[in-house]
Every structure is written in C-alpha cells, then in structure tokens.
C-alpha cells in the first residue's frame, strides 16, 4: 500500500501536468493551431490511447485476480454489445458489464 508522501507526489504530478496541458496551449494558440502534426495527432491519438488503456486494465485484472479469464471475457462482450446495441449509453454499458463481472467472479 502506498505511503502518504507517495500519494502527495502523485497529486502534485497530476496537478502540474494536467494544468499545463490545459493552460499552455492558450499561450501558444496560433502556433499549435497551424501545426499539422498537432492536428493529425488530435485525430490519431485518442482511439489508440484508449485502446491501450482498455487492454492494460484488462491485463491487470487477469494477472492480479483469480487468473480466470472467462468472467472478464464475458463482461467485455456484455459491455460492447450493450454499448453498440443499447444506443451508446455509457453508464448503462459500464453498469451491465461490471455487474456481469462481479456476479461471475463471485459465483465461480
């Protein structure tokens, strides 16, 4: 479990990096807006980063938990199906997926 100084260091880092990302562009708005690289990154980055996070968190669960991949696979499928067929209501999809995982994980 993390010590308090470590938690405080995390808070300081998160505060500084996030605020810098929100504030600095306003200072260099014209340069950034004219940068083709920045514009391309804005299109390419989000989907890849989110996909990497989805797989990384899935892997954390698989390596840290009971090692049973079935509940995770079912929960991810439930989430994706609910999201694509249920009109992309994030709370509903996440709720159903989490419920599926919790139930399966506690049953088996």
């Amino acid at each position: 479990m993390p010590e308090t100084p470590y938690i405080l260091a995390v808070l300081a880092i998160v505060f500084t990096v996030t605020l810098a990302l929100r504030a600095l562009p306003f200072a260099a708005l014209r340069t950034l807006r004219e940068s083709v690289l920045v514009r391309k990154l804005s299109v390419w980055m989000p989907v890849g980063i989110l996909g990497i996070l989805a797989v990384s968190t899935l892997r954390t669960t698989l390596t840290a938990g009971s090692g049973n991949a079935l509940p995770a696979a079912v929960a991810v499928a439930v989430t994706a199906a609910a999201h694509l067929l249920g009109g992309r209501r994030t709370l509903l999809s996440v709720g159903l997926g989490t419920l599926a995982y919790v139930v399966l994980e506690n049953l088996f």
């Binding site: 479990m1 993390p2 470590y6 938690i7 260091a9 995390v10 808070l11 300081a12 880092i13 998160v14 505060f15 990096v17 996030t18 605020l19 990302l21 929100r22 600095l24 562009p25 950034l32 807006r33 083709v36 690289l37 920045v38 391309k40 990154l41 804005s42 299109v43 390419w44 980055m45 989000p46 989907v47 890849g48 980063i49 989110l50 996909g51 990497i52 996070l53 797989v55 990384s56 968190t57 899935l58 892997r59 938990g65 509940p71 995770a72 929960a75 991810v76 989430t79 994706a80 999201h83 992309r88 994030t90 709370l91 999809s93 996440v94 997926g97 989490t98 995982y101 919790v102 506690n106």
Partner: protein, 235 residues
C-alpha cells in the same frame, strides 16, 4: 443600472447550471463509483476528493487508483497523465475562454476545462458569458467531488470488499474506445496501438503501459513524417 446587471448575472448563472445538468447526470454516478473504488482499493478516503481537486479528469483519476495501489513509478504516472490528458491541448482551440474577463475566474476556467465543459460549449451555438461558463464549470466540479464523497460514504454500507468492482474501469475504457473508433480512419491508429502494446508486453512486461504508450507516440510521429514525405497529408 446595477440592479439590471445583477439580474442579468443571475440569469446567466441559472443558464450555466441548466447547461450542466445533462452531463452532470453522468458525472455524479461515475463520481460515486470513483469514491467507492478508492475505498475498496484500500486507499485513504481523502484520496478521492484530493484527486478530483488536483486533477479533475475523470478517466485518469479512475486509472490512477490501480496505479497508486501498485505504487507505480512516478515517471510512469507522469507520462500516463500527459498522454491520457493530452486531448485537452485540442480543446483550447475552440473553448470560449475569451468571454471570461476576471483573471481569477479565467484561471479557474482553464483549470476546469474538462471533457464535459468542452463538449457542452462545442455543441452549443449560444453566446457564452463569463458567469454562465464559470457557473457551469463549478457545477461540474461540485457533481464530481460530491459524487466521490457520496461514494466514500456509500462504501461504509457495503461489505468490506466487493470482489471484481474494479473491473468497471476496464469496461469504461472499452466503451470509450468504441466511441472513439467510429470511422474507418480510426483503424490504422488502433492497429498501431495494438502493435505498440504487443511489442511492449514482449520486451518490457513489467512496464508495458509506459513502454507501449511511448512506442505508440513514436509510431504516430513516424507515420506523420512518412505521410509528409509521400505528400499525402491533406492539411
């Protein structure tokens, strides 16, 4: 004169609060889940409000719970924060910050430029005023911090540990990935991301997130350079 200025400010504040409601309906329950997860993960309860004030960035805060429990190196925390929150750079291009005149309010507006605030202003064609924008942003932060505290409180009502609750984060990223991958243009970056993480899992299994994100960023820049050489960049 003064009375009319006060009544117009009041109208603008009411409009800002109305603007905040739809997104707030999603933020408050997610905040509860966040507060619950903080306590369930075994972190001190104050981490929930502290993260929501220090970062005020929902998906990153959820991600940080697991990273903090694992005492992830601070360099990985910094890089993950940088990449996950990098999208905010693009928000500044169209966020109506110019309507906020007071310097303190302006600083707050920049600090609180979250996804939801950007999305609401981007989707509306209305004339924003400083009062309206700031009251909407303050309302968002109240929902988020309040939801987190409600989750901390609710955790006391639950059994000591609900097995598997932390999986909410994984499925949240699954839905966000699906939302980001709506057009065929998103297939190449998704494949590059898969290649990056796959490589990282082989060469650096203990730091796969950090290494995977770095490889991904490098590959995107390589793609950009190659596109420019071939002259296929449609700027």
């Amino acid at each position: 004169m003064r009375a009319s200025r006060i009544s117009s400010a009041r109208r603008e504040i009411a409009a800002g609060l109305r603007d905040s409601l739809a997104a707030g309906l999603g933020m408050f329950p997610l905040g509860i889940a966040f507060g619950l997860l903080v306590v369930q993960a075994g972190l001190p309860w104050w981490v929930a409000p502290a993260l929501s004030v220090a970062g005020f960035a929902g998906s990153l805060e959820l991600l940080l719970i697991g990273m903090m429990v694992a005492v992830t190196p601070l360099a990985t925390i910094a890089l993950t924060t940088f990449l996950v929150n990098f999208r905010h750079v693009f928000y500044s291009f169209s966020f109506p910050l110019h309507v906020v005149k007071n310097p303190v309010a302006k600083a707050y507006s920049v600090y609180a430029m979250i996804d939801e605030a950007y999305a609401v202003t981007a989707a509306s064609k209305e004339n924003w005023t400083g009062w309206r924008l700031i009251s909407m942003q303050l309302a968002f932060q109240a929902y988020w911090v309040g939801g987190g505290l409600a989750g901390v409180w609710a955790s006391a009502l639950l059994p000591a540990h609900v097995e598997g609750l932390e999986f909410a984060l994984c499925v949240l990223f699954v839905t966000l990935t699906l939302d980001a991958a709506r057009t065929r243009k998103q297939v190449p970056p998704l494949l590059l991301a898969a290649l990056s993480l796959g490589t990282a899992l082989v060469v650096a299994p203990d730091a796969s997130l950090f290494v995977g994100l770095v490889i991904f960023l490098v590959l995107l820049i390589v793609r950009f350079v190659m596109d420019r050489r071939r002259g296929v960049l449609n700027a």
